[in-house]
Subunit: 213 residues, 4 copies
C-alpha cells in the first residue's frame, strides 16, 4: 500500500510532517509520500521523503508565465497529482499534463470522481488513478465505508481499460482501519489530507495509518 499525504494549502509545518513521514515510511517499510505547496517542494524533498507535486501544467518549456512546469517540479519531486477535484483540468490538459510529467520522470496519479471518469483517466496512460468522491472529501467518513461500491467499481473500471494502472482511493481516510478497508476493496494506495496535515500529532496519525500493514 502507498500512502500519499496531500498538504493542500493547509496552515501546517510541511517540513516537520515530511520528516515524520520519512521516519514512519522507514520504520514500517511502507511507501509514504508528501505533496506540499509547489514553493515547498524543495524543503520537503530535503527530508528524504518521497515527494509529490499537487499539480503540473500541460506545457513544456516556453512562454508559460505562472505555469507549474513539470521539469521544474521534477528537480525536487518524484511524482505528481493531476486533476484533483480542487484543481480539475480539461480532458486534453490531463492528457498533456500526464505526458509532460512522464517525460520529466514524474510518477503520475490522476484523480477522478467516479468509475466512469476513472476509466477515462486510465485511458490516458498514467501510472495510477485515484478515486475521490468530492462529497466525502474532508468529511472524516472514509469512502471505503460510505461508498465501497465506488472503490470496487473504480478498480474494475481501471482494470478493464489498462490493468497496469494502479488504483488509489481517497476521501475521508484518517485511520489505519480505513487503509486496510481500502486494500480489501482492491486499492493499492490511499490519498489523505486533513487526517495528517491537521492532526495534533501528525507523526502519531501516520503511525496509526500504516499500523496494520
Amino acid at each position: 500500500m502507498f500512502v500519499l499525504v496531500n498538504l493542500k494549502a493547509y496552515d501546517c509545518d510541511a517540513a516537520a510532517i515530511a520528516r515524520a513521514a520519512a521516519d514512519v515510511a522507514d520504520d514500517a517499510g511502507v511507501r509514504v509520500a508528501v505533496a506540499p505547496q509547489t514553493a515547498e517542494l524543495s524543503v520537503v524533498a530535503e527530508t528524504g521523503v518521497e515527494t509529490f507535486a499537487q499539480h503540473v501544467s500541460p506545457v513544456d518549456h516556453g512562454s508559460h508565465t505562472g505555469s507549474t512546469l513539470a521539469a521544474a517540479v521534477a528537480e525536487y519531486a518524484d511524482g505528481t497529482l493531476c486533476n484533483h477535484s480542487e484543481r480539475r483540468l480539461r480532458l486534453a490538459d490531463i492528457d498533456a499534463a500526464v505526458d509532460a510529467a512522464g517525460s520529466a520522470g514524474l510518477e503520475t496519479v490522476v484523480c477522478a470522481n467516479n468509475p466512469r471518469q476513472i476509466a477515462a483517466a486510465a485511458a490516458l496512460g498514467p501510472d495510477a488513478v485515484a478515486v475521490e468522491p468530492p462529497e466525502l472529501i474532508g468529511t472524516g467518513t472514509p469512502v471505503s465505508a460510505a461508498d465501497p461500491d465506488i472503490v470496487e467499481g473504480a478498480v474494475a473500471a481501471a482494470g478493464d481499460v489498462d490493468p497496469s494502472v494502479d488504483v488509489y482511493c481517497g476521501a475521508g481516510i484518517s485511520a489505519g482501519e480505513d487503509v486496510l478497508a481500502a486494500r480489501d476493496l482492491g486499492a493499492s494506495g490511499v490519498l489523505l489530507a486533513s487526517g495528517v496535515a491537521k492532526a495534533d500529532d501528525p507523526r502519531a496519525a501516520l503511525e496509526d495509518l500504516v499500523s496494520g500493514l
Copy 2:
C-alpha cells in the same frame, strides 16, 4: 454516414444553410445536421433540419447564470457537440454535460484530439465521439489524408472501450471524397465547418459532400 455542419461563430446565414441541409438530407437520404449559435437554435430547428447545439453546460436547472442548459437547448435541438477543441471542458464536466444532455434527450457527440482522448471520451458513455486533430482544423487538408492513422486509431480505441459508441472524424473535410475516405477508415460520420459555412454556395457544397454516399 452522418454529416454534421458546425456553424461556429461564423458570419453566415444559419437559416439558409439549414434549409439547404434539410433539402440535401431529404434528397440524398443522408443524415445531415446543422449546429448553429445557441441563440439561433430556434430558427434552424424551424427549417426541419436535424439541429445540434455546439455546447451544453454540465448543470441541471438552478442558479447557473450564463450557462447553456441542456433542457433549454432540447426545446429545439436533437443533439449536441461537447468538448470541441474550441470549447474544451474539464473531464468531470464532460461527464456531467453528457449526463445532462442525455437526460434532456439530446444525442451526444464528444470531441477529442487523439485516440487516447477518444478512449477516455468513449468511457463516459456518449452516443458518439469525434476525433479532430486541432492542427488540421480549418486547413482544408482532410484528416483522412493527412493523418489516416489517427482516424483508424480512434475507431479502434473507441471500439475497445465501448463498441456501441459511433466514431466521427473532422478537420479539413470539405468534399465528397473526404467523406468517403473517412468512411473507409471506419468513421460513421464527419464534422465540418468552413467547408459549408464559408462556401460561396453552401447547398452545392452539401450536395458534393453527400454525392458519393
Copy 3:
C-alpha cells in the same frame, strides 16, 4: 428605475414571465427586462419585452465553437449581463465582451462583488455596473438592508471613475420596498432572479416590485 429579471437556468416558463413583464412595464411605465437562457432569447423577444442575454463571449465572428456571439444574441436581445458571479470572466475578457456587445448594439451591464471591483468594471466602459455580494444571492435578504454600505460604496466608486455609468444593485431583492431602498441608496436599477422566476405568481411579484415607483 430599471428592473432586470434574470431567469438563470431555473425551471420556469420564460415566455409567460416575459409576457407578464411586458404588461407590467407598460402598465407601470417602468423599464422591465427579462434575461432568459440564450436558446430562449427568441421566444422572450417575441413578447415585446425588453430582452437581455445572461452572457456574451469576448469574441467576434470566427472559429469559436460553443461561444455566445454578441451578433447572434443581438438578433433578439437589447442588452446583456456580463461577469455575473455565476459566470465570472477574466478581466481581459470582460473588456473584450463589453466591446463586442457594444459593437453589436447591446446595452452592457457588468456585475461585480464589491466597490473595488465596481470601480474596475466601470473603467471598462460599460453602460452600467451591478453590485451583487455573492453571499446574499438567493437569500431573500436584500443587499439594501443587509449591506447598504456596499451599494453606496458602489455608487460612489463608479461615479469616481465614470459618472455616466449607471449603477444597479442585486442580491436578495424580492419586494417593492427593496426597490425603493435601492433607489434611496443611489442605484438606478435592480437585478433579481428567484423573487420573480420562482414566484407562484410572477406577474403579482412584478407588480409588487414596481408598485412604489
Copy 4:
C-alpha cells in the same frame, strides 16, 4: 527604475541568472528582481536577489489542492506578478489574489493589456500595474517604440484612478535604450523575459539594461 525579469517556463539556469541579477543590482544601484518557476523560488531567493512569483492564487489557507498559496510563496518571495497575459485571471480573482498577496507581505504587480484594463487593475489596489500588449510579447520590438501611446495612456489611466500605483511596461524590451525610453514615457519599471532568460550571456544583457540608469 525597477527591472523585473520573468523567467516564465524557459529552459534556463534560474540560479545563475539570479546571481547575475543580484550582482548587477548591487553594482548599478538599481532594483532588479527575478521571477522564476514557483518550485525554484527557494534557490533564487538564496542568491539574495529580489524574488518575485509569477502568480499567486486567490485563496487563503484551506482545501485548495494545486493552488499557489501566497503565504507559501512569501516564505521566499518579495513580490508577485498577477494576471500576466499568459495567466489571465477573472476580475474577482485578481481582487482576491491582490488581497491575499498583500496580506502575506508580497508586493503586487498586476498586468493588463491596455489603458482601460490598467485603470481597472489600478482600482483593485495593487502596488503597481504593468502594461504589456500581448501582440508585442516576445517580439523584440519594444512597446516604447511600437506603441508609445499605450504606455503614456497607461500612466495617465492609472494616475487618474490612484496616483500611488506605480506603472511598469513590458513586451519587447531587451536593451538599455528600451529602459530609458520606457522611463521617458512615464514608466517607473520594466518587465522583460526572453531578453535576459534566453540571452547567451544573461549577465551582459542585464548590465546593458541598467547601463543608462
